[in-house]
Symmetry: C2
């Protein structure tokens, strides 16, 4: 088992990375009230196994699968379920699923009776390397993704690479976009490692996956420990996301996967960085080819023009004092937040 | 001006208590994006005055007046308003109104883009002495009051006793219930002071009110500083509330005012304490008479039996490991949380 500790003072917590499901610590296993939130795709595969980790019977509630259900409506349904079942402040909420289930359940855990216990069991690569670390929870609003949410740190994160076996290929690829993101924003050596281990990763070699996931969690944990509420460095994790969110929103949530949109967004961030003279054309091609080698798209959807991105970018959470802010790459393996990108520059680079 | 500082480390904030509206600190007055949330009762009286405290134009949104509108629906409406107006993470939300507006706006401030700036301007006595201090925010669910919420400390609280002039008599009385609560749970001398100053308080003598409000805020601030998230002492502030919430819920939110229900709840807590031999009958009569002298009810509604309280008590947020917990009075001016109150005892005392 590999272990990463997210250092956040009193709210520190461990991430366990295993190749199978192992026993939980007693404080979790013995919880009297447990509600597992999952979806109809994941539940038939892992709900029984996860329920068996607890010594008392668990309730479970399923939310339809997909980003379209990460809404205030689903939030309210879970709240009603908890109250109908007579759950108290002692309840342990367990998120068993991908980022949608994690974000939604985490937000419920943040708000039910002003905060209850929360255990994350992320089952997709994307949620294992990204959304399950760092406590960002949210639901979407028709006018913007993740606009309603909270910072809620889980008590524990349990990752098993076995759940990746049943993950559709396209979703595995989408997760790899976030893996590549860590390399691009802060670790050029890890980029080399990913290129070298491409075969083993695509074959889903358990130990290689565990090592890769552990490295990503460690990088994210370090960033989150320095900057829990995104006043500074944490914003770098949004590399590719300003473009990516616009693609997701324009195409309709769920049509393009988050990771796919972020992959294109990272290429666009690299192109913008090259236009500023920071990256060479061969470096931009490395970004493209590593993403492509994991089966990811590297060009914006045919239906979109750069002008279509602007309305979404202007309501991005990174907007400050009316100014759009972008994470760009001053070098390969190093990212920084810039507030000086103008509409004119975007039109020039991407038209 | 009187001032209370709520000590919460990095999240510490001041409460200013004035007899009129005075200039805000520059950091607040100069906010570029300001949204004032109020209701149709308060807005015509104070919205213009409050808007004038800011150097940039303010948006405002009105929510219907009353506990019935402290819902996830209203929460969603405000979220939509903020996004439609293009508000960013820099927005300053201002709650101008009583507890409903404060709780609702505070919860929005906790969740909009995972947390934005929040200024409280409580206009009712109840919210001035209670809900504006300590960062508890929430909305109601059909199955329970304040079941969905967050701890969100405001950046500043501005109290002006002038807003009490326009408060209906019944609401002023309801606020006095919470004032009396502070005396009962922790300050027998303050109980004497209230009895002595009854005339000046009922005449709404501005300096007397400011002094009284300041004392309550200080008591609450001290408790909140010791125990922000209600792991211990903060629960004592719920004196009378377990009974009170049941009355409010049974009678339909808004029919009995919160303070009226709490007044009866405190009498019931005193009667239970007397039954246990901790208070004398004359002491219970002091509790009754001081509440009555401020125009408050001291007996449960005719329509209710003690059995009607039980379903609500069992979903109370203080329930722990399935056990109801009550704040009782081991002595007049001293409160403690008890987990050993049974249904049988309740039926015996109140049937």
């Amino acid at each position: 088992m590999q272990k990463v500790e997210v250092q956040l003072g009193q709210r520190s917590y461990p991430i366990d990375i295993n190749t199978g499901f192992t026993a939980l610590p007693a404080s979790l296993a013995s919880a009297r009230q447990v509600v597992i939130v999952s979806n109809p795709t994941v539940a038939p595969l892992y709900l029984a196994q996860v329920s068996a980790l607890f010594s008392h019977p668990c309730h479970h509630m399923l939310i339809e699968d997909g980003e379209a259900f990460k809404t205030l409506n689903s939030f309210e349904s879970i709240m009603s379920f908890l109250l109908e079942k007579g759950m108290s402040r002692d309840v342990l909420l367990v998120a068993l699923g991908g980022g949608v289930i994690g974000d939604l359940t985490g937000f419920v855990a943040a708000c039910f009776q002003r905060g209850v216990r929360f255990l994350q069991i992320p089952t997709t690569l994307l949620s294992q390397v990204d959304s399950s670390v760092g406590g960002k929870t949210a639901v979407n609003h028709p006018l913007g993704k993740n606009m309603i949410g909270a910072f809620k740190q889980p008590e524990h994160v349990v990752i098993s690479t076995v759940t990746l076996n049943t993950l559709p290929e396209r979703e595995f690829a989408a997760g790899m976009a976030e893996v590549v993101k860590y390399a691009l924003l802060g670790d050029a050596q890890f980029l080399d490692w990913l290129i070298q281990h491409r075969e083993l990763i695509c074959q889903q070699h358990p130990e290689t996956l565990a090592q890769m996931i552990c490295h990503c969690c460690q990088m994210k944990a370090d960033i989150v420990s320095r900057d829990e509420t995104e006043q500074g460095d944490r914003a770098l994790l949004n590399l590719g996301h300003t473009f990516g969110h616009a693609i997701e929103a324009f195409m309709g949530y769920g049509n393009w996967l988050h990771g796919e949109a972020v992959a294109v967004g990272m290429v666009m961030a690299a192109e913008l960085s090259a236009h500023r003279g920071w990256l060479s054309e061969p470096q931009v091609n490395i970004v493209r080819s590593v993403l492509q080698s994991f089966g990811l798209p590297v060009a914006m959807p045919d239906q979109m023009q750069i002008a279509d991105f602007l309305p979404f970018m202007k309501t991005d959470k990174k907007v400050k004092d009316g100014q759009m802010r972008f994470v760009l790459l001053p070098a390969l393996g190093s990212a920084k937040l810039f507030a000086d990108v103008t509409e004119a520059e975007l039109l020039q680079v991407f038209s």
